[in-house]
Symmetry: C2
Subunit: 213 residues, 2 copies
DNA sequence: CTTTGTGAAAATGTTCACAGCC
DNA sequence: GGCTGTGAACATTTTCACAAAG
């Protein structure tokens, strides 16, 4: 049980968790680091070392109790059971994310969409209401929304930066805009960038070099 | 100019490229490692070191020619100018990806969608035809599709693994299914996993620990 | 004076190897 | 026999610091 957890470890642990939930769903009760490693394409030592940053979860000679480990890892990664999430941008990507089944399943509750298009405001997408982006602060405070997923076109970037800089409740941002956001705030806001076209560039690099991953 | 390029370097270079294209669009002609670092939230040394894996692109005392660097990095990451891409799964995520403007802009041409739903087969989504997944090998060979983006529900995972294991032309896979794929093939296939709910778990971990990124 | 490119040092991350337990 | 947890060894990656160039 060590102090500084590598971010790579956190990413892998999230991957283990996904896999463990799948195993739980399939009815597997116990799994060894060897088998979990095989399923997630890492080494058994890596699995054990990663888990050891957070505690001792296994039984020598047996392996890990799938149910227990799922609960432990959920707690470690999520901190609290339920998070309220909003999506900024009710375009095709935003709408697809509202439908993404695994968010709700993991208790990331999408409770609002935001857009600036008058034709969309007031409508519902998959039972989630679209609010005027001008109401962002009011709605996020009212609904206690701490996570914002940004799915707007690049052109709206400045507006989003301003809106988030003024906001006082959002603590985390998942950014699908392919430009690094510059949010000016004294509060700490955690940001994760997901640039989909970047992934394709990395993929073609791997293909060209003949690497698996 | 060294031999083994870290994958983290490749990821950052793709990020620089995205940023440089934005600068080019804004009319910036020259940029220093310092300024590029600020825009992409890394250190100037990191930028220079990363680029040095691939060559000497800068002018001492001046910086990097934005136009030239964009062209060089495009060549390095993509290998060839144009790639044909298909999307498996014409659900909301698949449809959103067809609409994602940056794919076409970067010459990743989406030329086919695949699904197993008879109601969708034969229709068009954003001018891209939906084919029967049973025709996967025929269509990919005919259209010379080397990259597959997987946007199917988890339940279709086994079918996808089988179809890809049989296929002889796909060289790269961008996998949005939140389970690591197990493709049995003697050919080398590069795979990149993008698990969206995993990102939320990492985000809540960062929030809880009070880390920016 | 500014900025690149890069060895060398420092920091970080992964693998090894084995004690201890079932 | 089978498996976990973990220091220590090893490997990789990042940062430092500076010579060389415009």
């Amino acid at each position: 049980m060590k102090k500084n957890v590598p971010i790579a470890t956190v990413e892998r642990v999230a991957k283990y968790l996904r896999c463990l939930k799948y195993l739980r769903y399939k009815g597997t009760k116990v799994i060894s680091s060897k088998d979990l490693a095989e399923l997630t394409k890492v080494t058994p030592e890596q699995v054990r070392k990663d888990l050891s940053y957070f505690g001792k979860f296994g039984k020598t000679g047996t392996g890990y109790d799938v149910n227990k480990l799922v609960k432990k890892l959920e707690k470690i990664l999520k901190g609290k059971a339920k998070w309220n999430v909003c999506i900024i941008g009710a375009g095709s990507l935003g709408s697809a994310l509202v439908n993404y089944p695994r968010f709700k399943e993991s208790n990331f509750n999408i409770v609002a969409l935001f857009d600036n298009n008058p034709e969309k405001i007031g409508k519902e997408i998959n039972h989630i209401k679209v609010y005027d982006i001008a109401e962002f602060s009011r709605i996020t405070e009212q609904k206690k929304i701490e996570i914002a997923v940004i799915a707007v076109p690049e052109s709206a970037r400045n507006d989003i930066e301003n809106i988030l800089s003024k906001n006082r409740i959002i603590r985390g941002v998942l950014n699908f805009t392919p430009i690094t956001l510059n949010i000016k705030t004294r509060r700490k806001i955690s940001i994760i960038d997901v640039d989909l076209s970047q992934k394709l560039y990395i993929l073609t690099y791997l293909i060209t070099k003949g690497k698996r991953r």
